[in-house]
Every structure is written in structure tokens, then in C-alpha cells.
Symmetry: C2
Subunit: 253 residues, 2 copies
Amino acid sequence: MGKILTMPFDGSMEGATATTAPQDVSREDAATFDVLRKMREDILCCVLKPDQRLRFGELRQRYGTSVGTLREALSHLVSEGLARTEAGRGFQVAPISLADFLDLSELRVYLETSTLADAIRHGTDAWEAEIVSSYFLLAKLAAPRQDDPVSVKREWGKRHKRFHDSLVATCTSPWSLHFRSELFDQARRYHWLTMIHARSRRRNEHLDLRDAVLARDVDLACGLIEKHIRTTVQQAASEVPGLTLEMAKRKKA
Amino acid sequence: MGKILTMPFDGSMEGATATTAPQDVSREDAATFDVLRKMREDILCCVLKPDQRLRFGELRQRYGTSVGTLREALSHLVSEGLARTEAGRGFQVAPISLADFLDLSELRVYLETSTLADAIRHGTDAWEAEIVSSYFLLAKLAAPRQDDPVSVKREWGKRHKRFHDSLVATCTSPWSLHFRSELFDQARRYHWLTMIHARSRRRNEHLDLRDAVLARDVDLACGLIEKHIRTTVQQAASEVPGLTLEMAKRKKA
DNA sequence: ATATTCAAAATTTTCGAAAGTTTCGAAAAT
DNA sequence: ATTTTCGAAACTTTCGAAAATTTTGAATAT
């Protein structure tokens, strides 16, 4: 159900055996996992706003579950850097700042390029097929702007993630993939803010990326994705109003 | 209490403001955090062995706490990659394998060198002082082998971590530091196994590293740490008995 | 006016037990 | 002999309430 990437059907799956890297999307822990996924999505899409305090009373209503379950989910979110907690004064959504976006984007450049290069070298037919497929789905939706409805923004976000995941699916380094995935989610928070305020529609950089990857051109593909990441930061810095080096906002739900 | 690094007293602390990277050692959540720390230490030192199943009954006795608290701690450990969980069949200690150690070490080479280079460029007097101090403490204990008592091994592990943390303390990238720290802990599990079985004592590579860092020689320091990491993997591969590419062990507590 | 104290209110943290799954092994069927 | 079925035991998951902590705000003192 939660599976996003389809694994190759042919033989080459050595990379997937006996790995120790943390579990990402797995564990279909019924309730706990369900709440975790919903909360993560709400933080990523800024339904739960940066710095917002997360009271158990409200959360219990919103997600229809008990404190124990919530606590476990929140605990996870803290590990992922999407929430914070302190001594005996509860949880809150992690803050955002341009400095943070710059920092995580810089590391993303390394992780996206190194995983992509490795994935291209180990690419299979099934990998190519999933790239073609996920690109097709992404291309049906133009990158959303201010005026597009939330449902379209959400759907685009999903397809965008699926496309980028498909590119690196055959990378043989579980740890690199794990950290890449975590940072990608972090970046999604900023992408959402950018969509909310976006005036300009960017030209389709994903097509070039797809073709470079399918052509197995490592240098070109890595160059494109690096540019893609950097451009995204630039756009956020210039088009998202409050995103300066110090964000001293505190909004209520 | 849990604070390992002393922050510089002088002005230069820009890197530390308004960061979003996950909380590492912070959150002194009384019970929860206490249990988490103990369990992490027990996994790192293989008191809880790889693949070992973690039943709540036993854990409740061992750590003297309730299921809820345990669950939260275990949840954290899963995020850190030190434990695994599946649907409705509980938790277990994450497996280990040479493939995993190779993979995480490769990523460590990048993270250790990039954070170290940045740290050297932003080094302060207080940073140098902490390096000198933590090296001094480390040097008082020779790297432990088979026959050394467990308490010495544990203490050496602590000092070893403190020394390496001190080197990168002034790095300005919170995200890089966070991932570096996570991978360092992962490596500690393999270091422990190596100590358990170590026949040879390695010569003191830390002294050279300290001097290169204090001399602000970025290239030399990065070269040394890269070699340090790679040598450690080699030693583990050759001296730890069961550490082959596939580990099909299943030991009981 | 500003600061301090103290108790009530709000909130978080911890726990033990009820509810729900999975695992195990004996009995029955193939 | 092997597989299937079924119920009991073991274990995990979820919950609501008790215990502990922090916050709030009014009353008092500086």
C-alpha cells in the first residue's frame, strides 16, 4: 500500500539483502504508522505550521487516537527532524529558516548526485520502466502555483517524490538512500511554501533530467539535478515572503 | 549531563542558531530519554546482540519501566537504524553485516571529511582547547583488545567518540553533523566487535590526526581520517570471525 | 509600577490493564 | 509421513486514567 517504488523483477537485487539502514516507509503498524504518516504529511504541507505547538488534546481529536500512540508518532517525527521536544513541555513543529534550507540543500546536492550516479550504473529495464511511468504521471500535472487548488498541489507533491525516488531506485547504498530520502522530505516543506506563493511557473526541468538518466549520461544527469536543487532554493528565497535568515513568526492553527 | 561537546565561549556561534536538524543528544526527558540512552548503549556494545528479539516482558524488567515508555524508546532506535520492527511482531536489534559496515563507512568518509574541513576553517581557540583536552583523555587509554576488561572498553569508546566529536565541533552545517553523528554511532557497533576480537593493537593514528587538525592542514587531516575509517573496516573484516557478507546467526541473550 | 508568591488550571508523562495478533503445538485429515 | 485445522499461550498494541510537571493569573509585597 505505502510502497512507492516497484522493485525490478529480474535478478539483480543484491543491494536489497541484509541491510541495516533505518526503516523508511515500511512498518505498516496499523494505527501508529497511520497516524505517523498523516502527521508527517500535515507537517510537510504546513497544515501544522512551523513552530506550532502540538498539544495532545488537539491532536487526539484531529487524529482520533490515544496519547500513547501520538507520543510514539511524535517521537518518530523528532528523529526525522520534523518536530522538536523539550523536557516536560511537549512537542512542536520544527522551525524553518532560509539558513536551514540552504544547509540541507547543500547536503542534498551530494546525496542526490552520488545516489543517482550509482543508480544509473546499476540501472535495469524495470528501473527505466518505472522512470518512464512516474515521469508520465508527473508531466500530466503542471507544477502548481498560488491559485491551484490544494488537492492538485498535494497530488503533484506525491508524483514529484515518486519521480525522484524512481531515478535513484537502483542505487546500491542503503544508507545513502535513507539519508537522501530524509532530506528530500525536509525539502518538501520548503517546496510547499514555494508553491503557495509561486508567481512564476518554472520550465520543465524534469524532462531533461529523465532523458539524461535514461541515456545513462552520469555527468549530465548529476549536473541537471544539482542545478535543479539550487534553482529551487533560489526560487524559495525570492518568492516566499517571510523566508529570511531569521524567522521569528509564531502563528496559531 | 549528556552534553559531550563544550561550545566555544567567544563570539563565533552563528552556525548554532535557528537550526532545524533533528535533536541528537538533547531532550532530557527524564525516564524516556534515560531508557533510550541505556538501550542505545546496550545495542552499541552488543549487550543486546544483533538480530536479538526484544520482548517487552524482558525489557520491562531490565530497564524497570512500562511498555509505553519502552515503546517510545524503541521507536527512536528504529529511526536511528539500531532496531527494526514489523507489523504486529515486535522489535528486534538491527542486524549487522560486512556489507552494511562497508556501505556506512563509505558514506562516513564523505561526511567526516566534509565536516572536518569546514570545522577547521571555522576553528576557534575553544575548539582547539577541547581537541587537546579530549585527545589527552583518549591517549591515557591504549586502544583495548580482547583481554581488557569491559569497563575499559566502554570508557575508551566514550573518549574515542568525544575526541572525534571535538574535531568537527565548529562545523557550520547542522545537517551534516547530525548524519555524521548517526553514522558514527552505527560504526561503534562494529568497533566494539573488533575490540572484542582484536589481536593486534593499532598504532596511534589519533595523534597524527590531532596534529594535522591543529595545524589547520585540511588536506592532510582529511586524508588521515579517510585512511583511519578504511583501516578500521579492514581490521574488522579480517579479525571479527563471523563478519562475512551474509550473517545468518541468531543468538540468544 | 514592578516583582514575588502561591495555588488552581492546563498539560505532559507514566503506568497497568484490556483488546487484539501472532505463534506454537497437539489433534485430525490427507 | 505430511499437511491442515484449531484452540490455548505468548506477546504486542492500544487505551484511559493516575501521577507529575509546567503554566497561568490573581493576590501580596517591594
